[in-house]
Symmetry: C2
Subunit: 129 residues, 2 copies
């Protein structure tokens, strides 16, 4: 499949991926895909990443139920970063973060410190039970 | 400076950075910072990255005039990815990409191929002269 060969995979065979919410345009999370993860994402229409810590394919939502429906995939000018436009499923508003927050980017730099500014929408113990 | 120590730098001492436009919420580009780049970004209010290809600090806009004014910095749940909220300066609409486009993410996946779907706003030969 040519389109997979156009991607410039890094030395570990991975591609950085940004997931952005359709509608709000909020940046939800950042993760990696390998070749198989990207192929599966394209084939199934749901985000499949490569978990570097667990060293296996990670169908986002497999444990939490918080799957990501993929509307669009965009490759950058260097062919080495992917932008996914997604609907974050399983909860309203969407929960992308394992901490139970909407977005993983919930710590804002303020006066020389990182401060959590987004609410926990659902207790992780409720999510991963 | 404690806040710099809270960042989980990768094995090369780098941090992946997503630049998002204030207002449109468009994702403009993806790059890396090292510790000094992040310190300078915080101190100056303009995005300073680490160029991996040139192996030096890269004050975005130094060659193009397309500087990025930083309004907000967000760290993710794992402390290893940064989200910048920026105004893309130097041209209206903003040009973040070295190809003269608004965003680096201009290639959309369509029917098994990556297709360029965003216009070139300014010829790169005009930008880098």
């Amino acid at each position: 499949m040519d389109w997979l060969d156009e991607v410039k995979w890094d030395e570990q065979g991975l591609l950085p991926v940004i997931a952005q919410e359709v509608g709000s345009n909020d940046v939800l999370m950042f993760a990696f895909m390998n070749r198989e993860a990207l192929a599966r994402t394209a084939a199934t229409g749901q985000a499949v990443y490569w978990s570097r810590s667990r060293r296996r394919l990670w169908h986002k939502g497999e444990a939490s139920g918080h799957f990501q429906q993929v509307h669009e995939m965009r490759l950058d000018c260097d062919n080495d970063v992917l932008l996914l436009k997604v609907t974050q499923l399983g909860h309203a508003p969407g929960i992308a973060c394992h901490t139970g927050r909407h977005s993983c980017f919930f710590r804002r730099f303020e006066h020389g410190a990182w401060r959590s500014i987004e609410p926990v929408l659902l207790d992780p113990e409720q999510i991963y039970k």
